[in-house]
Amino acid sequence: MSILLTKETTFIVQGITGREAVNLTRECLDYGSKIVGGVTPGRKGREVHGVPVFDTVAQAVEHHGAPIDGSVVTVPPAFTKDAVFEAILNGIKLVVVVTERIPRGDVAQMVELADMNGARIIGPNCLGLIVPEVCKMGGIGGPAKDAAKAYAPGPVGVMSRSGGMTTEISSSLTQSGLGVSTAVSIGGDAIIGSTYAELMPYFEADEQTKAIVIYTEPGGRMEAQLAEWVKDNNSRLPIVAFMAGKFMDDEEMKGMSFGHAGTIVEGKEDTATEKIARLEAAGIRVVERIDEIPTVVKEKLGVLA
């Protein structure tokens, strides 16, 4: 089992002829993912690693002859909103938005349209998601052989605001013998399609998942939202959190953002210190060191180290 993806999941890549998209397509195909088409306006008739390219999403759906499950959107920021609207209004239910530097207003519009149409957005500013040995949707984990090294199947669900740290943490879980159920790079922006709390019900319903690890940063309220969710839902899943960017709480760092756009601190509740306190108050264990994660997860699972 897994969340959001299965072996049968079909998806397209919007912006497939771009340099990064070509790499991502290769990586996903090598991993065994089912990419059934690509879209770049004006490039109909081409192929990218054997994947047919279309001008519109509607053409891709028509060619496939059945509804398409997902789309990875990797087009420039000014065109992303339109591409996501096109995906959603052509019946696609899972949209991974890779693009960064999209204004919040655009992201909020995409999310509102997705909500109205029963679709889910992952990202923006993310690397996508992966179910080890089943499906990889996005650049997460890199080339198939590298992804295989970092991601082995196991009981831990991973959600991270940093794409690179999704793989770093998953690799440490894999090395420790635990492994990963599904890992989601949720994106580094202030407003994202799927927050921790919004993905928790999926993990909760997934039999394979026995524990959750989250990577988090200063800025925004999604940790507070997760803390609320945990208190309200009596979750069966122990959660282990790691907070990066504690140095940003220093007086000299006020008003600055580091790493990701979403780390901009806009209120007292957004600081690392405040978030750690909130998560802990909800019974979520926040580790000080990144390498404590596997050990603490094992403790929580009752597995002997």
Partner: protein, 407 residues
């Protein structure tokens, strides 16, 4: 992007919200003329992008144009929290019956703009929300559909405001919500929104912030209406020589991305680190283990040898830097061997021994075997993913401190 009060007022005015007849002045003579035109008592306010101007003496009242000119002269020379004012705003001293608050912010959880209204204006809204929660009305608006007036009315009515006050305040809050959305603001507030003795509502002070990512598509407002120069970026602090040098190296070559910051960092351990989340994690790991970073940096997107070399050189040339730590979370796009070549080259070109200068190299991932061969050849201590980011940072700290103890 932050706006001065005189610009925020203009933005509010453009959205059809009434403001007083104010003047933006950069000389005492202009202030005198503005006060004459207003005719009557005025208030002179320093135009700075920082809080606490009232306490610092940046706001003064004047009864005559002469007094206005005198105050303007003093305020124009007054530095507040390290900021010199851009000018002064001359505003009529309004006959205020009651002060209100109207604001719009992002609610990241609901992913919608949130309207806020209070009948306790003139003070910090967070303070009001804490002490008098029943005096703060709230209401979300859609991102997609037109914003109807009634949603503003509902938010205001929950505070108990009724009568003509409700009817006057409603269009103000609705227009504020529309301008927030149309202009890509992250904050739009009018505080105080004043009800004057004649019953009219005017924005007496306004505070606006625009999302940096949207600056490119808001050119009409920024350049045409507000006449803000292209290079007027309004960062919270001035860029250092190091930051400018790194930005220039990054701009000169399209391959990969590097960033460097050293505002607030004064240590002896140079950090050549990446990527976004990795850099945050590593900076904390160095500090938590007693290390003193000389800077913050981010490598990403597979930079060229020259770019990695350029960043490492700039870090090494910072005052007080004795060694550098080269560390990243597992890479899948950026190549280990290319970064290894870059940082070693930086040492060689500065006449330093890479084995001595690079405290630790911890970048696992793409092309690591090739990278490790290069590092071994130059006697640089390196490690793969079996050594955690925490441990690698600790080794770097131990090395630089061991050296300090020996000397």
């Amino acid at each position: 992007m932050r706006f001065f009060e005189f610009e925020a007022r203009k933005i509010v005015e453009l959205a059809g919200i009434p403001v007083t007849k104010y003047g933006f002045c950069t000389t005492p003579e202009e202030a005198r003329a503005a006060a004459e035109e207003i005719g009557g008592p005025v208030v002179i306010k320093s135009q700075v992008l920082t809080g606490g101007r009232m306490k610092a003496g940046g706001v003064k009242f004047a009864d005559t144009p002469e007094e206005a000119a005198e105050h303007a002269e003093a305020i124009l020379r007054l530095e507040i929290n390290g900021h010199m004012p851009r000018g002064v705003l001359v505003d009529p001293k309004a006959e205020v019956k009651q002060e209100y608050y109207a604001g719009v912010v992002w609610d990241g959880t609901a992913k919608r703009p949130l309207m806020l209204f209070s009948d306790m204006g003139g003070i910090d809204i967070e303070e009001v929300a804490r002490t008098h929660p029943d005096h703060v009305g709230r209401g979300h608006v859609s991102n997609l559909f037109p914003i109807p007036d009634f949603e503003a009315k509902q938010a205001i009515a929950t505070t108990g405001v009724t009568g003509s006050q409700l009817n006057r305040a409603t269009p103000v809050l609705a227009r504020l919500a529309r301008l927030f959305r149309e202009n890509d603001m992250t904050l739009a507030e009018i505080n105080p929104l004043a009800e004057l003795t004649d019953g009219s509502f005017v924005a007496l002070d306004a505070h606006m912030e625009m999302e940096n990512e949207a600056v490119g598509r808001q050119k009409k407002l920024l350049r045409k209406e507000l006449r803000i120069a292209e290079d007027d970026d309004r960062e919270p602090y001035e860029h250092s020589k190091f930051e400018e040098a790194v930005a220039a190296i990054d701009a000169a070559d399209h391959r990969g991305v590097i960033q460097g910051k050293d505002h607030g960092f004064t240590g002896n351990l140079g950090l050549v680190i990446g990527a976004g989340g990795g850099s945050l994690t590593l900076t904390d790991a160095v500090r938590s283990q007693g290390g003193k970073p000389a800077n913050y940096s981010e490598i990403g997107g597979n930079p060229s040898v020259a770019k990695a070399c350029g960043l490492a050189k700039e870090v090494l040339e910072k005052d007080g830097v004795e060694k550098i730590a080269v560390m990243m979370s597992i890479v899948s796009n950026t190549r280990v061997d290319i970064v290894a070549r870059g940082v070693i080259k930086a040492c060689l070109e500065l006449g330093k021994d890479p084995g001595e200068t690079i405290a630790i190299f911890r970048i696992p991932g793409a092309w690591e075997d090739e990278g490790f061969k290069i590092l071994a050849r130059y006697g640089v201590e390196y490690c793969d993913r079996s050594v955690s980011m925490w441990e690698a940072a600790g080794r770097a700290v131990a090395k630089i401190q061991g050296e300090g103890a020996a000397a």
